[in-house]
């Protein structure tokens, strides 16, 4: 006897009907697990990464564009930094220690940086890679930890530093940092 093309169909009266309580319990479990999965996706997407604040991006854009010109640099700092911070630079005809320190952090890489990339951004801190005119990365990387004013328009405090790899096993490590 050939069964080709035939489709067995169980009559409705022979189907074992699941109980309502079973369906309700399974429905609750399925709903709970689905909500948990959605929550997991949300957490994995949000993590700690944040978009860098506009004031930080503008500040860096203009600092890089100042291209070591002290007058431009001072203008940028006064524009974006809270007076409590910018006054610490002690502007005068003679470059202050603070001015030299700040300038050294960003410009003293052997070559002048003309652009940058924000390699990582967290709430309150960004990691930067600077690039020269040929588009080559100028290591070491930089980090800027910041606090903004309540309106988010001014930098009220910060730490700006080079991230120097201390292991020679690090691909970015080199003996001479310029």
């Amino acid at each position: 006897m050939s069964t080709k093309g035939s489709k067995s169909k169980i009559p409705d009266e022979e189907i074992r009907e699941p109980g309502n309580l079973t369906l309700i319990l399974l429905g609750v479990v399925a709903l709970f697990l689905t909500l948990f999965s959605i929550y997991s996706i949300y957490l994995s997407l949000s993590r700690d990464y944040v978009k860098p604040p506009a004031v930080i991006v503008s500040f860096l854009d203009e600092v890089i564009a100042s291209n070591t010109d002290k007058t431009d640099f001072v203008t940028v700092l006064n524009k974006y930094l809270d007076t409590g911070v910018s006054s610490g630079f002690g502007w005068s005809a003679t470059p202050s220690h603070n001015w030299v320190a700040f300038k050294r952090t960003i410009f003293n890489h052997g070559d002048i940086p003309v652009s940058y990339e924000i390699a990582a951004s967290y709430e309150g801190l960004i990691e930067l890679v600077l690039y020269d005119v040929q588009g080559d990365a100028l290591y070491p990387r930089l980090t800027l930890a910041y606090k903004l004013s309540d309106d988010g328009q001014t930098i009220v405090d910060f730490t700006f530093a080079r991230m120097q790899p201390f292991s020679i096993l690090d691909s970015e490590y080199k003996e001479d940092w310029g």
Binding site: D12, L23, D170
Partner: protein, 150 residues
């Protein structure tokens, strides 16, 4: 609802449950562990009474690190030891976390031979539940505004 409809609903619900259990297993592997495990790695590496007796710490690290990171960072790697542990000069050390985010940790080391204010950075990724792509930095040419911004 007919018996056939209820049976179909049953199979749909079973499928949803199985799918979510499998998906949830993979989705949650890297959740919740990242920040804690980063701090844990830093403490296991740099918090000790005597750097000559780091064996138990590194036995634990082997379970946390990916195989490639373990090859690079284990204490049998002389280059790694010189770079990371020479600065302690056989004195005890403790860690003080300054800034902790998933994948990016800033910390201070309390050791008689390391300047108290020096900041160190530990960057990492979590891959398949293991700590991978570790990058370690010392912050130099540090310029602080008022108190630092951390």
């Amino acid at each position: 609802m007919t018996a056939r409809g209820k049976q179909r609903l049953l199979w749909v619900l079973v499928f949803i449950i199985v799918f979510n259990v499998v998906f949830g297993f993979f989705a949650t592997r890297n959740l919740g562990v990242s920040r804690n495990v980063g701090c844990q790695v830093v403490k296991l590496m740099y918090e000790f009474d005597d750097p000559l007796y780091l064996g138990p710490n590194y036995a634990r690290l082997k379970e946390i690190l990916s195989d490639s990171m373990w090859d690079k960072l284990n204490i049998d790697n002389d280059q790694r030891v010189v770079n990371s542990y020479y600065k302690f000069l056989n004195e005890s050390s403790s860690v003080d976390f300054v800034f902790v985010r998933d994948g990016f940790i800033v910390y201070r080391l309390h050791n008689d031979n390391i300047a108290e204010g020096t900041l160190w950075v530990f960057c990492y990724d979590i891959v398949d539940g293991k700590v991978d792509n570790i990058r370690e930095y010392k912050l130099v040419s540090v310029y602080r505004g008022v108190e630092g911004g951390f």
